[in-house]
Structures are given as structure tokens and as C-alpha cells.
């Protein structure tokens, strides 16, 4: 399985966010997308997840499941954690597992994220870090080959970051792919870097 892109360009709100972006990520490989704020790191991940249309260029996935779009074979972990406060921690995870096509076990995911004894608590009582760990638990509860992580370590403390690094390592060893947008290093050793935002772009022509 190989995810590739050629000459990608993205326009949002009339502004050309980035252009001429190309990359290729094979099974077991990771790509760290860096760049200053507003360079389009999040837009690139949202574009791959199919949430945003690309203005130019081509994006493809070789040897993926043919009838599923790239977005349906990828996990998109955005800035927000998609956690409903009035549902309990377990209800949140069980819902996303059922909706996104399940597969993995929610208990294992919760214990991997260190949330198992909070399972019955309403998610409203979780701290930002715990909510982040709950959305990370989604990655394990629903196994998908491609992980699109948008600043995954935000709001995480040191121990949670090392837990995340371990999860990412096992995902890569299992033949999965990771594209992560972040400022600093997030514990991904074997990641190649894709730098965005070098050229200055005026408004879209």
C-alpha cells in the first residue's frame, strides 16, 4: 500500500494555502508535515481525509481497498476531539467504533489510553488531556491503515506522549502509515519531513 500526491494545491477562502506539494508514503513509513502557522498543515491533512477539495494536482492510494475513498481508509485526528460531554467515555468510544466500522475492541483501546476506570463517567468531567487521549483511543478501537494526526500531542503530558509514541511505533511496525502535522518532534523516529509554506503565495488567481 502506497499513498502518493503530485503537484497538490489547496485554496481556502480565496487564499491559495499551498501549491506544488508532492509526496509518497509507503507501508510502515511516516511523514512529518511541518511549517509555520497558516502554512496549510491542517489543510493538507483535511484534504487527504476528503474533507476539503483540492484545487489542482492528483492524490492517489495504490493497493488500498478499491471501493473505499482514501478518507474512509484513514483516521483523521483533528484539533477538536469529537467528544460529546453528555455521553459517558465508553458511550463516546463505542459510538465512534460502531459508526466508523469497528473491528478493534473498545476495552483494549480505553486501557491503552489509560481511561478504563473512567469509562462510566460523563465525558464532560474529563480534562483536555483526557479528552485528547479518548480521541487517540479511537485510533485503536477502529483499525485503519492511514493515520492523519493534526498536532496529536497537544494537551498531552509527558507520559501520555510516550504512550502515543509507542502506539505509533506499533502502528508503523504493523504496516500502517502516519502523516502527522506538528511543530516539534512527536516521538516519531523514522519520519521523513515535508516542509510547507516556503514560497509566499498571493490570492488565488
Amino acid at each position: 500500500m502506497r499513498l502518493w500526491a503530485e503537484n497538490l494545491a489547496c485554496v481556502r477562502g480565496g487564499r491559495r494555502v499551498f501549491a506544488g506539494v508532492g509526496f509518497a508514503v509507503g507501508a510502515g513509513e511516516a511523514l512529518l508535515v511541518t511549517g509555520r502557522n497558516g502554512a496549510g498543515k491542517s489543510s493538507l491533512l483535511r484534504l487527504i481525509a476528503g474533507l476539503v477539495r483540492h484545487a489542482e494536482g492528483r492524490l492517489g492510494l495504490d493497493a488500498g481497498e478499491a471501493e473505499l475513498s482514501i478518507g474512509e481508509q484513514a483516521h483523521y485526528l483533528g484539533h477538536q476531539d469529537a467528544v460529546k460531554p453528555s455521553l459517558s467515555v465508553a458511550e463516546n468510544l463505542v459510538f465512534w467504533s460502531a459508526y466508523l466500522g469497528g473491528g478493534g475492541s473498545c476495552e483494549a483501546a480505553l486501557s491503552a489510553a489509560g481511561l478504563s476506570e473512567l469509562a462510566e463517567l460523563p465525558a464532560a468531567y474529563l480534562s483536555a488531556g483526557q479528552k485528547r487521549r479518548l480521541s487517540i483511543a479511537r485510533l485503536i478501537a477502529v483499525p485503519r491503515p492511514i493515520w492523519l494526526l493534526d498536532e496529536p500531542t497537544s494537551a498531552l503530558d509527558a507520559s501520555a506522549q510516550s504512550q502515543l509514541a509507542a502506539l505509533m511505533r506499533t502502528h508503523l511496525d504493523g504496516g500502517g502509515m502516519i502523516l502527522a502535522a506538528a511543530h516539534g518532534s512527536i516521538g516519531l523516529e523514522r519520519a521523513r519531513e515535508l516542509r510547507l509554506g516556503f514560497e509566499e503565495f498571493g490570492p488565488a488567481t
Binding site: R12, R53, A82, S86, L87, F95, A98, Y99, G101
Partner: protein
């Protein structure tokens, strides 16, 4: 299929939990219907003549104004992104959310309508028909209101502007709804024709609503 079922159950749970909007529509409907006699006066004969119109206007406003949060709540906490990367068809997911909204807001309107009919002096026999028209009409209001709910996310605009945009689309439903209801009470027009047209409108909006809302979400989100 279990994905859509999970979405339906989740939306119903959210509506009935603290902070959910389950019976707010019914409460709004109750207050609007109770207010009208204060404007029109306690003359029972007049009230029973315009009773169905009051019930229908109340149901229309209650349905549309509570739809505004349907997608906005999911958009704000990031759930909408995940719903769009789900394996279920977006149109079907939207249809499921609309069904959940109708069950928690539209159906309660139909259930308390006969009670409010007492206040408006609509006699019980005719009330059966009025409730039937509401049962057939409220789904159309929800599905047409879907388009406004989707636009309120893509345009990032609050409720009232979108109610204004979407209200003209509900005029046919209002006309045939009230006509069918009135025909059961005053009755020059037989009940059949307006009611079947109302059902037709509901079925049409069942298709057009989700399609338009899905298109709005797909192309509007950034």
C-alpha cells in the same frame, strides 16, 4: 447498517440527556399556541375556526427553529468531520440525524397537538384529522429545514437568517396541511386530496432535503 443505527441511538440519547433539546420544540409549540388566544380573544367560535392554522404555524416554527443546532453542535466539537469520513453514505447519515430530530421534536408536537386542540376548542373528532395532517406534515418540515441546518454550518450563520431562507420552501406544506386540517372541520373540500398532496410533499422532501444538505456540507466545509 449498524453505523446508521448507532448514529440514530446516539442522537436520541443526546437529545434526552441534560443539555439536549428533546422537548424544547414541544414547549415552544405549547407557548405559541397558548399565546394566540391572548391576541385573538377568548371567542371560542373564532378560535375553533382558525385552530388548525394556529397549530400548523406553531408546528412549523417549532420544527424549523430547533433544527438550527442539528449540524452546528457536531461541527463545533469536530464530530461532523468524523461523520464525513465514516463509511456510511453522507446522505443516509444526514437522513438518520433528521429522523432522530423528528422523533425527539416533530413527534412530540403531534402527540401534544390534541391537548392544545382543547384550548382552541377544536372538537375531538376533527382533532384526529388535524393530528393526522401534522403527523404527515412535520417530517416534511424537518427535511426541508435540513437545508437550513446545513447552511448554518457552512455559512457559519445563526438560526433566524436561515429560518427566513428556508421558510418559503415550506409554504406548500403549510397550505396543504392547513387545507387538509380545515377540510376535516369546516369541510367544503374533502379531506382526501389535500392530504395525499401533503404526503407527496413529505416524500419529495424526504429525498430532496438530505441530498441538498449533503451537497451543502460537502462543498461548503473548509
Amino acid at each position: 447498517m449498524s453505523a446508521l443505527k448507532a448514529l440514530l441511538i446516539r442522537d436520541m440519547k443526546l437529545a434526552f440527556r441534560v443539555g439536549g433539546g428533546a422537548l424544547i420544540g414541544a414547549l415552544f409549540f405549547l407557548i405559541v399556541v397558548v399565546l394566540t388566544p391572548f391576541a385573538i380573544g377568548p371567542d371560542l367560535a373564532l378560535l375553533s375556526r382558525i385552530g388548525p392554522a394556529i397549530l400548523w404555524l406553531g408546528a412549523l416554527l417549532a420544527s424549523l427553529l430547533t433544527l438550527d443546532r442539528l449540524f452546528a453542535a457536531d461541527y463545533e466539537d469536530g464530530s461532523l468531520d468524523l461523520i464525513m469520513t465514516g463509511r456510511a453514505q453522507l446522505e443516509l447519515a444526514i437522513l438518520t440525524k433528521a429522523l432522530a430530530h423528528w422523533l425527539t421534536t416533530g413527534l412530540p408536537l403531534v402527540i401534544i397537538a390534541p391537548l392544545l386542540g382543547l384550548l382552541l376548542n377544536i372538537d375531538l373528532a376533527a382533532m384526529k384529522y388535524v393530528a393526522l395532517t401534522l403527523l404527515a406534515g412535520t417530517p416534511a418540515l424537518t427535511f426541508i429545514g435540513l437545508i437550513g441546518a446545513a447552511l448554518s454550518v457552512t455559512l457559519r450563520r445563526g438560526g433566524l437568517l436561515l429560518a427566513v431562507l428556508v421558510l418559503p420552501l415550506t409554504i406548500p406544506v403549510l397550505i396543504f396541511g392547513v387545507a387538509a386540517a380545515n377540510s376535516a372541520i369546516i369541510g367544503p373540500v374533502p379531506f382526501g386530496p389535500p392530504f395525499t398532496i401533503l404526503c407527496g410533499l413529505s416524500l419529495a422532501s424526504l429525498v430532496i432535503g438530505p441530498l441538498a444538505a449533503a451537497a451543502a456540507l460537502r462543498h461548503g466545509l473548509e
